[in-house]
């Protein structure tokens, strides 16, 4: 328990001083995205890595949070701080109601159902032009501000987003280590066995689905208020798949893994920009190599790699 707290404190400190080290205008913007994506990856990981339930529609919840916040603050001139919890409540309730029938499905069927859900939400964003602005998007969303500070620069946004992300991380770490986290892993492994021990497997699955949607919605609201412009393209099927990739590459069932996956998948395209037209090929190849050689994800694969390298050195370079 103490070790966990130490690790989290160290991680938080690293996040807090990171801007001083990498202080670059554009990079700060990318790091803000790393924060948002970390939140989303954690949300999906709670569902997929812990409870073992897949969702290919999480970009939809992310988008709903963003659009609800956006519409409430522009069309209805609501205070952003009020719009955010309203959006989270609406998205959470919606996920709960949808989860009740949908989470009875398993495996491929659940993947299909959530995929459909994501696509429906995406279509609604595109077609309800009066409400959402349709494909051309919604602009003029106000920045958040508190006590005279307006979060309108990348550095300020960095601290805002990462503050919330760290809170989400701490909450998720606690949840994962608790009685509920244990029950989630039990449901993941064998639903029948969990049930006969008194775990209300179905109720728990729906609750974690709703919680996951709420965190995604929160990330969406923050996204809307930091970018001030949103369009449906950011919330499509592709992004759901990208989230799934972050969770798997980072490490299923690991909160820090979600950060690693989100960081890698957000930074990689920026790093590969120098490779011009070949970036997509290198990107794809890297992902394939990682899945092949680190099936447990970065969070387990990288330490194993280090151990391997160091033990080889200790043996005097023997292969």
């Amino acid at each position: 328990m103490k070790r966990d707290l130490l690790l989290f404190t160290a991680f938080s400190l690293f996040i807090m001083v990171a801007p001083q080290i990498f202080a670059g205008g554009y990079l700060m913007n990318v790091l803000v995205f790393v924060g948002i994506n970390t939140m989303l990856a954690i949300a999906l990981n709670l569902l997929l890595g812990y409870a073992g339930q897949i969702s290919l529609g999480h970009a939809g919840f992310f988008g709903l949070g963003a659009y609800l916040s956006g519409i409430l603050t522009t069309t209805y001139s609501l205070n952003p701080w009020l719009a955010m919890p309203i959006a989270a409540c609406v998205v959470g309730s919606l996920a709960y109601l949808i989860g009740l029938p949908v989470l009875k499905l398993k495996g491929h069927y659940l993947a299909m159902a959530t995929l459909g859900l994501g696509i429906i939400i995406y279509i609604v964003f595109n077609e309800t032009v009066d409400l959402t602005g349709g494909p051309s998007g919604l602009s003029g969303i106000p920045n958040l501000h508190v006590a005279g500070i307006t979060f309108d620069s990348d550095v300020k946004n960095y601290y805002l987003i990462w503050g919330v992300t760290l809170a989400v991380m701490l909450f998720s770490l606690n949840l994962a280590g608790s009685r509920v986290g244990r029950a989630l892993r039990a449901v993941h492994d064998s639903e029948v066995a969990a049930q006969v021990l008194g775990v209300d497997a179905r109720g728990l699955k729906v609750q974690i689905f709703a919680l996951s949607a709420i965190i995604s919605s929160l990330a969406g609201s923050l996204y809307a208020h930091t970018m001030t412009f949103i369009s449906p393209a950011s919330f499509g099927f592709n992004f759901s798949i990208e989230l799934l990739t972050m969770v798997v590459i980072g490490g299923l069932g690991s909160i820090y893994g979600s950060f690693l996956g989100a960081a890698l998948l957000t930074l990689l395209p920026e790093i590969l920009r120098g490779a011009n037209d070949y970036d997509i090929i290198i990107y794809g190849a890297l992902l394939m190599v990682m899945v092949m050689f680190m099936p447990g994800g970065l969070v387990r694969g990288v330490p194993a790699l280090f151990r391997k390298v160091f033990s080889r050195k200790a043996e005097g370079g023997h292969a």
């Binding site: 009685r179 244990r182 892993r185 066995a193 006969v196 021990l197 008194g198 775990v199």
Partner: protein, 247 residues
């Protein structure tokens, strides 16, 4: 203590249990025997609420529990050790046991009482204590079966439903597990409903037995009478039972 009245259970269109009635008194060990597909597991799953009955009544301590969901059944004091052990393989022995006390933790029951029960599980199965930090999936079949029973005991049940605890285990391990069941009845007064393929061993342990065939109870009675019953001998103990026995 437990009474099933004219239970009918379906899997989709398959009529798995046909008017099954049976009862268990407090402190009894009762066994269900029968061939594959006779409905033994279905009876346990019907009691525990995993596959609820579509007609009939399940009474536990005089209350109807027929349509209660599994978690409410556990709450009432019935724990199931599912078929094929179903321990949580990626979790440690300790975590598996703590999961058995899931509802007690939820009901804010004190840690002291729960840990006392964990100590009892360790005294029944010392092997589990040696391996408390080990991942359940890395243990042998016998140890996993012990863990599955220990996990069910962590709910502090009045009644234990066991589904083929001897499946795929060495005879010595089976003996050890059956001895523990006997001890449980003596020390905790636990009522036990035991489903077994190993009819001979089960009937030797049990007070009474029910013989099932294609979803119906075809025979019931005291265990020692069933052991000697010509029909049971022929169908479930093998023709040359005597020879096997005296070997």
């Amino acid at each position: 203590m437990l009474r099933l009245k004219n239970i009918n259970t379906y899997y989709g269109k398959v009529h798995a249990l046909k008017n099954v009635s049976l009862h268990l008194d407090e402190g009894e060990i009762v066994t269900l025997i029968g061939a594959n597909g006779a409905g033994k597991t279905t009876i346990l799953n019907t009691i525990s609420g995993v596959t609820p009955a579509s007609a009939g009544e399940v009474l536990f301590c005089k209350d109807a529990v027929t349509t209660l969901p599994p978690d409410k059944i556990v709450q009432r004091g019935i724990s199931q050790v599912p078929e094929g052990r179903q321990v949580f393989k990626p979790l440690s022995v300790e975590d598996n046991l703590e999961l058995g006390a899931y509802l007690r933790y939820r009901n804010r029951e004190g840690k002291a009482a729960i840990h006392k029960d964990m100590d009892q599980v360790f005294s029944l199965f010392p092997r589990l204590e040696e391996r408390r930090k080990q991942l359940a999936g890395t243990m042998s079949g016998g140890e996993q079966q012990m863990l599955a029973i220990g996990r069910a005991l962590m709910a502090n049940p009045k009644m234990l439903l066991l589904d083929e605890p001897s499946m795929g285990l060495a005879p010595l391990v089976v003996q050890e597990i059956f001895r523990v069941l006997e001890r449980l009845r003596q020390e905790n007064g636990t009522t036990i409903l035991l489903v077994e393929q190993n009819a001979k061993a089960a009937l030797k342990l049990a007070d009474r037995g029910y013989v099932l065939e294609t979803g119906k109870v075809i025979l019931e009675g005291p265990a020692d009478e069933l052991l000697e019953n010509a029909e049971v001998k022929r169908a479930y103990l093998g023709k040359d039972k005597k020879e096997m026995w005296e070997r």
